[in-house]
Amino acid sequence: MSQELDLPPSLRAEVEAARRQVSLSPELEARVMATVRVRAASPQHRAWRWITAPSLPPWALLAAAAAALLAFVLLRPASVGSPGVASPLATAVGPESIYVRFILVAPNAREVALAGTFNGWDPTAAPLARADSAGTWTVTVALPVGQHQYAFVVDGRRWLPDPAAPAVDDGFGRKNSVVSVSAEQRRIL
Protein backbone atom coordinates (compact mmCIF):
# COMPACT_ATOMS: atom_id res chain seq x y z
CA MET A 1 0.00 0.00 0.00
CA SER A 2 2.72 2.39 0.90
CA GLN A 3 4.22 1.76 -2.55
CA GLU A 4 0.97 2.83 -4.17
CA LEU A 5 1.11 6.04 -2.26
CA ASP A 6 4.62 6.67 -3.56
CA LEU A 7 3.58 6.27 -7.17
CA PRO A 8 3.34 9.43 -9.19
CA PRO A 9 -0.18 10.10 -10.43
CA SER A 10 0.82 9.56 -14.05
CA LEU A 11 1.69 5.91 -13.38
CA ARG A 12 -1.30 4.94 -11.26
CA ALA A 13 -3.48 4.29 -14.29
CA GLU A 14 -0.81 2.00 -15.77
CA VAL A 15 -0.57 0.02 -12.53
CA GLU A 16 -4.32 -0.36 -12.30
CA ALA A 17 -4.44 -1.61 -15.87
CA ALA A 18 -1.67 -4.11 -15.22
CA ARG A 19 -3.49 -5.47 -12.18
CA ARG A 20 -6.65 -6.26 -14.11
CA GLN A 21 -6.88 -9.98 -14.85
CA VAL A 22 -6.59 -10.81 -18.51
CA SER A 23 -8.85 -13.56 -19.71
CA LEU A 24 -8.14 -15.35 -22.98
CA SER A 25 -10.70 -17.02 -25.12
CA PRO A 26 -10.71 -20.86 -24.74
CA GLU A 27 -10.05 -21.28 -28.48
CA LEU A 28 -6.93 -19.12 -28.36
CA GLU A 29 -5.61 -20.94 -25.28
CA ALA A 30 -6.16 -24.31 -26.94
CA ARG A 31 -4.31 -23.23 -30.09
CA VAL A 32 -1.38 -21.85 -28.09
CA MET A 33 -1.06 -24.97 -25.95
CA ALA A 34 -1.24 -27.25 -28.99
CA THR A 35 1.61 -25.35 -30.61
CA VAL A 36 3.66 -25.51 -27.42
CA ARG A 37 3.20 -29.30 -27.17
CA VAL A 38 4.24 -29.84 -30.78
CA ARG A 39 7.34 -27.70 -30.39
CA ALA A 40 8.28 -29.36 -27.10
CA ALA A 41 8.11 -32.80 -28.70
CA SER A 42 10.18 -31.87 -31.76
CA PRO A 43 13.66 -33.45 -32.11
CA GLN A 44 15.25 -30.02 -32.41
CA HIS A 45 13.72 -28.82 -29.17
CA ARG A 46 14.63 -32.01 -27.31
CA ALA A 47 18.20 -31.72 -28.59
CA TRP A 48 18.35 -28.09 -27.46
CA ARG A 49 17.01 -29.03 -24.02
CA TRP A 50 19.59 -31.86 -23.79
CA ILE A 51 22.35 -29.41 -24.61
CA THR A 52 21.20 -26.62 -22.33
CA ALA A 53 19.89 -28.62 -19.37
CA PRO A 54 22.19 -28.16 -16.35
CA SER A 55 22.76 -31.90 -15.89
CA LEU A 56 26.43 -31.72 -14.90
CA PRO A 57 27.76 -30.31 -11.65
CA PRO A 58 30.26 -27.45 -11.98
CA TRP A 59 33.20 -29.64 -10.95
CA ALA A 60 32.48 -31.98 -13.87
CA LEU A 61 32.70 -29.09 -16.30
CA LEU A 62 36.01 -28.03 -14.75
CA ALA A 63 37.27 -31.61 -15.03
CA ALA A 64 36.22 -31.74 -18.68
CA ALA A 65 38.04 -28.48 -19.36
CA ALA A 66 41.15 -29.82 -17.66
CA ALA A 67 40.94 -33.04 -19.66
CA ALA A 68 40.59 -31.07 -22.90
CA LEU A 69 43.63 -29.02 -21.98
CA LEU A 70 45.61 -32.16 -21.19
CA ALA A 71 44.56 -33.76 -24.47
CA PHE A 72 45.65 -30.63 -26.34
CA VAL A 73 49.02 -30.69 -24.65
CA LEU A 74 49.54 -34.40 -25.21
CA LEU A 75 48.33 -34.54 -28.81
CA ARG A 76 50.01 -31.45 -30.13
CA PRO A 77 52.68 -32.14 -32.72
CA ALA A 78 56.16 -32.55 -31.38
CA SER A 79 58.80 -30.34 -32.88
CA VAL A 80 61.86 -32.51 -32.94
CA GLY A 81 64.88 -31.03 -31.29
CA SER A 82 63.06 -28.05 -29.89
CA PRO A 83 63.68 -27.00 -26.29
CA GLY A 84 61.54 -28.87 -23.83
CA VAL A 85 61.42 -32.12 -25.79
CA ALA A 86 63.38 -34.28 -23.42
CA SER A 87 62.06 -37.63 -24.60
CA PRO A 88 64.78 -40.17 -25.34
CA LEU A 89 62.78 -40.91 -28.49
CA ALA A 90 63.08 -37.40 -29.83
CA THR A 91 65.98 -38.17 -32.07
CA ALA A 92 64.20 -41.09 -33.64
CA VAL A 93 61.04 -39.32 -34.76
CA GLY A 94 60.28 -37.39 -37.90
CA PRO A 95 58.84 -33.93 -38.23
CA GLU A 96 55.28 -35.26 -37.97
CA SER A 97 54.98 -36.86 -34.60
CA ILE A 98 52.52 -36.88 -31.76
CA TYR A 99 52.99 -37.14 -28.03
CA VAL A 100 51.23 -40.22 -26.73
CA ARG A 101 50.87 -41.14 -23.10
CA PHE A 102 50.94 -44.81 -22.13
CA ILE A 103 49.51 -46.00 -18.83
CA LEU A 104 49.75 -49.36 -17.09
CA VAL A 105 48.41 -50.28 -13.67
CA ALA A 106 50.85 -52.72 -12.13
CA PRO A 107 50.82 -52.40 -8.34
CA ASN A 108 53.46 -55.07 -7.72
CA ALA A 109 55.91 -54.02 -10.41
CA ARG A 110 59.33 -52.70 -9.44
CA GLU A 111 59.97 -51.24 -12.90
CA VAL A 112 58.05 -50.94 -16.14
CA ALA A 113 59.29 -50.02 -19.60
CA LEU A 114 57.74 -49.49 -23.01
CA ALA A 115 59.24 -51.27 -26.00
CA GLY A 116 58.00 -51.37 -29.55
CA THR A 117 58.66 -50.87 -33.20
CA PHE A 118 59.15 -47.14 -32.57
CA ASN A 119 62.25 -47.72 -30.44
CA GLY A 120 63.65 -50.90 -31.97
CA TRP A 121 62.10 -52.95 -29.17
CA ASP A 122 64.68 -51.56 -26.80
CA PRO A 123 63.38 -52.29 -23.28
CA THR A 124 65.58 -49.60 -21.79
CA ALA A 125 64.62 -46.74 -24.09
CA ALA A 126 61.33 -45.68 -22.50
CA PRO A 127 60.97 -46.47 -18.80
CA LEU A 128 57.65 -45.64 -17.18
CA ALA A 129 57.46 -43.55 -14.02
CA ARG A 130 55.34 -44.61 -11.08
CA ALA A 131 52.60 -41.99 -10.82
CA ASP A 132 50.90 -42.93 -7.56
CA SER A 133 50.82 -45.38 -4.69
CA ALA A 134 48.15 -47.45 -6.45
CA GLY A 135 50.70 -48.69 -8.95
CA THR A 136 49.88 -46.53 -11.95
CA TRP A 137 52.85 -46.25 -14.30
CA THR A 138 53.02 -43.70 -17.13
CA VAL A 139 55.28 -42.49 -19.86
CA THR A 140 54.75 -39.97 -22.65
CA VAL A 141 56.59 -40.52 -25.91
CA ALA A 142 56.62 -38.77 -29.26
CA LEU A 143 55.48 -41.22 -31.91
CA PRO A 144 55.89 -40.68 -35.64
CA VAL A 145 52.76 -40.79 -37.73
CA GLY A 146 51.93 -44.38 -38.62
CA GLN A 147 51.14 -47.65 -36.96
CA HIS A 148 53.24 -49.10 -34.18
CA GLN A 149 53.31 -52.34 -32.21
CA TYR A 150 54.45 -52.34 -28.61
CA ALA A 151 54.32 -54.06 -25.24
CA PHE A 152 55.15 -53.25 -21.65
CA VAL A 153 58.15 -54.90 -20.06
CA VAL A 154 57.55 -55.49 -16.36
CA ASP A 155 60.57 -56.01 -14.12
CA GLY A 156 62.74 -56.56 -17.16
CA ARG A 157 61.34 -59.96 -18.07
CA ARG A 158 57.55 -60.07 -18.33
CA TRP A 159 56.08 -58.83 -21.60
CA LEU A 160 52.53 -57.56 -21.26
CA PRO A 161 50.22 -56.19 -23.94
CA ASP A 162 48.41 -52.94 -23.16
CA PRO A 163 44.98 -53.90 -21.80
CA ALA A 164 43.58 -50.64 -23.19
CA ALA A 165 44.63 -51.19 -26.81
CA PRO A 166 43.91 -53.62 -29.66
CA ALA A 167 46.34 -56.53 -29.84
CA VAL A 168 47.65 -58.89 -32.50
CA ASP A 169 49.68 -62.09 -32.35
CA ASP A 170 53.38 -61.31 -32.21
CA GLY A 171 54.36 -64.50 -34.04
CA PHE A 172 56.08 -65.83 -30.94
CA GLY A 173 53.06 -66.96 -28.97
CA ARG A 174 52.38 -63.64 -27.28
CA LYS A 175 50.40 -60.52 -28.10
CA ASN A 176 51.56 -57.09 -29.20
CA SER A 177 49.45 -54.00 -28.68
CA VAL A 178 48.85 -51.60 -31.54
CA VAL A 179 48.72 -47.82 -31.65
CA SER A 180 48.14 -45.82 -34.81
CA VAL A 181 48.82 -42.13 -35.11
CA SER A 182 47.13 -40.17 -37.88
CA ALA A 183 48.63 -36.96 -39.22
CA GLU A 184 45.38 -35.58 -40.56
CA GLN A 185 43.52 -35.40 -37.30
CA ARG A 186 46.30 -36.02 -34.81
CA ARG A 187 44.19 -38.80 -33.41
CA ILE A 188 45.08 -42.11 -31.88
CA LEU A 189 43.27 -45.23 -32.88
Binding site: A115, T117, G120, W121, D122, P123, G146, Q147, Q149, W159, A164, P166, A167, V168, D169, D170, G171, F172, R174, N176, V178, S180, S182, E184, Q185, R187, I188, L189
Partner: protein
Protein backbone atom coordinates in the same frame (compact mmCIF):
# COMPACT_ATOMS: atom_id res chain seq x y z
CA UNK B 1 71.66 -45.76 -64.47
CA UNK B 2 72.59 -49.01 -62.76
CA UNK B 3 73.67 -47.05 -59.70
CA UNK B 4 70.31 -45.30 -59.61
CA UNK B 5 68.48 -48.61 -59.77
CA UNK B 6 70.63 -50.27 -57.15
CA UNK B 7 70.87 -47.29 -54.78
CA UNK B 8 67.61 -47.92 -52.90
CA UNK B 9 68.41 -51.61 -52.53
CA UNK B 10 71.89 -50.90 -51.23
CA UNK B 11 70.52 -48.30 -48.85
CA UNK B 12 67.92 -50.73 -47.55
CA UNK B 13 70.53 -53.45 -47.17
CA UNK B 14 72.81 -51.08 -45.29
CA UNK B 15 69.99 -49.91 -43.05
CA UNK B 16 68.97 -53.49 -42.21
CA UNK B 17 72.56 -54.50 -41.54
CA UNK B 18 73.15 -51.47 -39.35
CA UNK B 19 70.02 -52.02 -37.30
CA UNK B 20 70.75 -55.69 -36.77
CA UNK B 21 74.47 -55.39 -36.03
CA UNK B 22 75.34 -56.12 -32.45
CA UNK B 23 71.78 -56.83 -31.43
CA UNK B 24 71.08 -60.02 -33.33
CA UNK B 25 73.26 -63.15 -33.56
CA UNK B 26 75.28 -63.05 -36.80
CA UNK B 27 73.55 -66.07 -38.32
CA UNK B 28 70.10 -64.57 -37.84
CA UNK B 29 71.31 -61.17 -39.01
CA UNK B 30 72.63 -62.70 -42.23
CA UNK B 31 69.38 -64.57 -42.89
CA UNK B 32 67.23 -61.52 -42.16
CA UNK B 33 69.41 -59.35 -44.38
CA UNK B 34 68.90 -61.84 -47.20
CA UNK B 35 65.13 -61.73 -46.65
CA UNK B 36 65.29 -57.93 -46.57
CA UNK B 37 67.13 -57.90 -49.89
CA UNK B 38 64.46 -60.15 -51.37
CA UNK B 39 61.74 -57.89 -49.99
CA UNK B 40 63.29 -54.73 -51.37
CA UNK B 41 63.76 -56.36 -54.76
CA UNK B 42 60.02 -56.95 -54.82
CA UNK B 43 59.25 -53.40 -53.80
CA UNK B 44 58.28 -54.30 -50.25
CA UNK B 45 59.19 -52.38 -47.09
CA UNK B 46 62.12 -53.78 -45.14
CA UNK B 47 61.66 -52.20 -41.71
CA UNK B 48 58.94 -54.63 -40.50
CA UNK B 49 61.29 -57.58 -41.13
CA UNK B 50 64.09 -56.02 -39.12
CA UNK B 51 61.63 -55.03 -36.39
CA UNK B 52 60.38 -58.61 -36.09
CA UNK B 53 63.90 -60.00 -35.80
CA UNK B 54 64.84 -57.45 -33.13
CA UNK B 55 61.61 -58.15 -31.29
CA UNK B 56 62.29 -61.87 -31.23
CA UNK B 57 65.80 -61.46 -29.89
CA UNK B 58 64.79 -58.93 -27.23
CA UNK B 59 61.94 -61.16 -26.08
CA UNK B 60 64.34 -64.06 -25.70
CA UNK B 61 62.75 -66.18 -28.41
CA UNK B 62 64.89 -69.12 -29.59
CA UNK B 63 66.67 -68.44 -32.87
CA UNK B 64 64.88 -71.22 -34.71
CA UNK B 65 61.55 -69.46 -34.14
CA UNK B 66 62.66 -65.99 -35.15
CA UNK B 67 63.26 -66.60 -38.84
CA UNK B 68 59.84 -68.26 -39.41
CA UNK B 69 58.21 -65.24 -37.77
CA UNK B 70 60.18 -62.89 -40.05
CA UNK B 71 59.15 -64.99 -43.07
CA UNK B 72 55.51 -64.75 -41.97
CA UNK B 73 55.79 -60.96 -41.90
CA UNK B 74 57.35 -61.04 -45.37
CA UNK B 75 54.50 -63.22 -46.66
CA UNK B 76 51.94 -60.80 -45.21
CA UNK B 77 53.66 -57.82 -46.82
CA UNK B 78 53.79 -59.70 -50.11
CA UNK B 79 50.10 -60.57 -49.96
CA UNK B 80 49.23 -57.02 -48.97
CA UNK B 81 51.20 -55.54 -51.86
CA UNK B 82 49.62 -57.97 -54.33
CA UNK B 83 46.13 -57.11 -53.15
CA UNK B 84 46.87 -53.39 -53.40
CA UNK B 85 48.45 -53.64 -56.85
CA UNK B 86 45.33 -55.40 -58.07
CA UNK B 87 43.25 -52.34 -57.20
CA UNK B 88 45.41 -49.56 -58.58
CA UNK B 89 47.66 -48.84 -61.51
CA UNK B 90 50.15 -47.01 -59.29
CA UNK B 91 52.54 -48.89 -56.98
CA UNK B 92 51.37 -48.85 -53.37
CA UNK B 93 53.36 -46.91 -50.81
CA UNK B 94 55.27 -48.60 -48.03
CA UNK B 95 52.83 -47.30 -45.43
CA UNK B 96 49.87 -48.84 -47.25
CA UNK B 97 51.68 -52.15 -47.70
CA UNK B 98 52.63 -52.23 -44.02
CA UNK B 99 49.08 -51.35 -42.97
CA UNK B 100 47.77 -54.12 -45.22
CA UNK B 101 50.24 -56.57 -43.71
CA UNK B 102 49.05 -55.60 -40.25
CA UNK B 103 45.41 -56.01 -41.31
CA UNK B 104 46.22 -59.50 -42.60
CA UNK B 105 47.91 -60.34 -39.31
CA UNK B 106 44.79 -59.12 -37.54
CA UNK B 107 42.62 -61.57 -39.47
CA UNK B 108 41.53 -59.88 -42.68
CA UNK B 109 42.05 -61.50 -46.08
CA UNK B 110 43.70 -60.18 -49.26
CA UNK B 111 40.20 -59.79 -50.66
CA UNK B 112 39.29 -57.57 -47.73
CA UNK B 113 42.43 -55.51 -48.31
CA UNK B 114 41.45 -55.00 -51.94
CA UNK B 115 37.87 -54.08 -51.05
CA UNK B 116 39.00 -51.45 -48.56
CA UNK B 117 41.65 -50.09 -50.92
CA UNK B 118 39.05 -49.68 -53.65
CA UNK B 119 36.94 -47.49 -51.42
CA UNK B 120 39.83 -45.21 -50.42
CA UNK B 121 39.91 -41.76 -51.97
CA UNK B 122 41.80 -38.49 -51.73
CA UNK B 123 40.39 -37.71 -48.30
CA UNK B 124 40.82 -41.20 -46.89
CA UNK B 125 44.20 -42.71 -47.74
CA UNK B 126 44.54 -46.43 -48.25
CA UNK B 127 47.06 -46.66 -45.41
CA UNK B 128 44.77 -45.00 -42.87
CA UNK B 129 41.76 -47.05 -43.98
CA UNK B 130 43.76 -50.27 -43.63
CA UNK B 131 45.14 -49.23 -40.25
CA UNK B 132 41.61 -48.63 -39.01
CA UNK B 133 40.42 -51.92 -40.45
CA UNK B 134 43.31 -53.78 -38.88
CA UNK B 135 42.64 -52.23 -35.50
CA UNK B 136 38.95 -53.15 -35.70
CA UNK B 137 39.78 -56.73 -36.66
CA UNK B 138 42.33 -56.94 -33.85
CA UNK B 139 39.60 -55.90 -31.43
CA UNK B 140 37.43 -58.80 -32.51
CA UNK B 141 35.09 -57.16 -34.99
CA UNK B 142 34.14 -59.82 -37.56
CA UNK B 143 35.81 -59.50 -40.99
CA UNK B 144 32.71 -58.67 -43.00
CA UNK B 145 31.62 -56.06 -40.50
CA UNK B 146 35.07 -54.52 -40.38
CA UNK B 147 35.15 -54.11 -44.15
CA UNK B 148 31.56 -52.88 -44.24
CA UNK B 149 32.09 -50.33 -41.50
CA UNK B 150 35.25 -48.85 -43.02
CA UNK B 151 33.80 -48.75 -46.53
CA UNK B 152 30.57 -47.18 -45.32
CA UNK B 153 32.43 -44.52 -43.35
CA UNK B 154 34.45 -43.59 -46.45
CA UNK B 155 31.67 -43.80 -49.00
CA UNK B 156 29.31 -41.66 -46.97
CA UNK B 157 31.91 -38.91 -46.87
CA UNK B 158 32.65 -39.03 -43.17
CA UNK B 159 35.71 -36.90 -42.29
CA UNK B 160 38.93 -38.80 -41.84
CA UNK B 161 38.82 -37.96 -38.13
CA UNK B 162 35.57 -39.91 -37.84
CA UNK B 163 37.14 -42.85 -39.65
CA UNK B 164 40.18 -42.82 -37.38
CA UNK B 165 38.00 -42.65 -34.29
CA UNK B 166 36.06 -45.84 -35.12
CA UNK B 167 38.28 -48.24 -33.14
CA UNK B 168 38.09 -45.96 -30.13
CA UNK B 169 34.30 -45.89 -30.37
CA UNK B 170 34.16 -49.67 -30.62
CA UNK B 171 36.46 -49.93 -27.65
CA UNK B 172 34.27 -47.57 -25.64
CA UNK B 173 31.18 -49.63 -26.45
CA UNK B 174 33.02 -52.82 -25.52
CA UNK B 175 33.99 -51.24 -22.20
CA UNK B 176 30.26 -50.93 -21.52
CA UNK B 177 29.72 -54.61 -22.24
CA UNK B 178 28.80 -54.57 -25.92
CA UNK B 179 30.27 -57.40 -28.04
CA UNK B 180 32.57 -56.17 -30.82
CA UNK B 181 30.10 -57.17 -33.52
CA UNK B 182 27.23 -55.30 -31.88
CA UNK B 183 29.38 -52.23 -31.31
CA UNK B 184 30.47 -52.20 -34.95
CA UNK B 185 26.91 -52.78 -36.18
CA UNK B 186 25.70 -49.72 -34.30
CA UNK B 187 28.48 -47.60 -35.76
CA UNK B 188 27.79 -48.86 -39.28
CA UNK B 189 24.12 -47.93 -38.97
CA UNK B 190 25.12 -44.49 -37.74
CA UNK B 191 27.60 -44.10 -40.61
CA UNK B 192 25.02 -45.19 -43.17
CA UNK B 193 22.56 -42.68 -41.77
CA UNK B 194 25.15 -39.94 -42.24
CA UNK B 195 24.82 -39.39 -45.98
CA UNK B 196 26.94 -36.32 -46.43
CA UNK B 197 27.20 -34.94 -49.96
CA UNK B 198 30.37 -36.14 -51.71
CA UNK B 199 32.52 -34.11 -54.04
CA UNK B 200 31.81 -34.65 -57.72
CA UNK B 201 33.39 -37.79 -59.13
CA UNK B 202 33.93 -39.52 -55.80
CA UNK B 203 30.77 -41.54 -55.64
CA UNK B 204 30.34 -45.06 -54.44
CA UNK B 205 32.86 -47.43 -55.93
CA UNK B 206 34.91 -44.68 -57.53
CA UNK B 207 38.09 -44.79 -55.52
CA UNK B 208 40.92 -42.49 -56.46
CA UNK B 209 43.15 -44.35 -58.89
CA UNK B 210 46.08 -42.23 -57.78
CA UNK B 211 45.71 -42.96 -54.11
CA UNK B 212 48.99 -43.68 -52.32
Amino acid sequence: MLAMVLAPELAAQGDATTRLAGRVPPAIAAAVTALADSARARGLPVAPLVDKALEGVVKGVPADRILPAVRTVLDQLDASASALRATSSTPPGDDAVEAGGFALAAGLTPGDIGAIAQSADRSHSTAVALQVAGALAAMGVPRAQTVGLVRTAIQTGRPVGDLVSLPGQVQAAMAHGAPPAAAAAGLERAAAAHQAPRPHGQGKGQGNPHKP
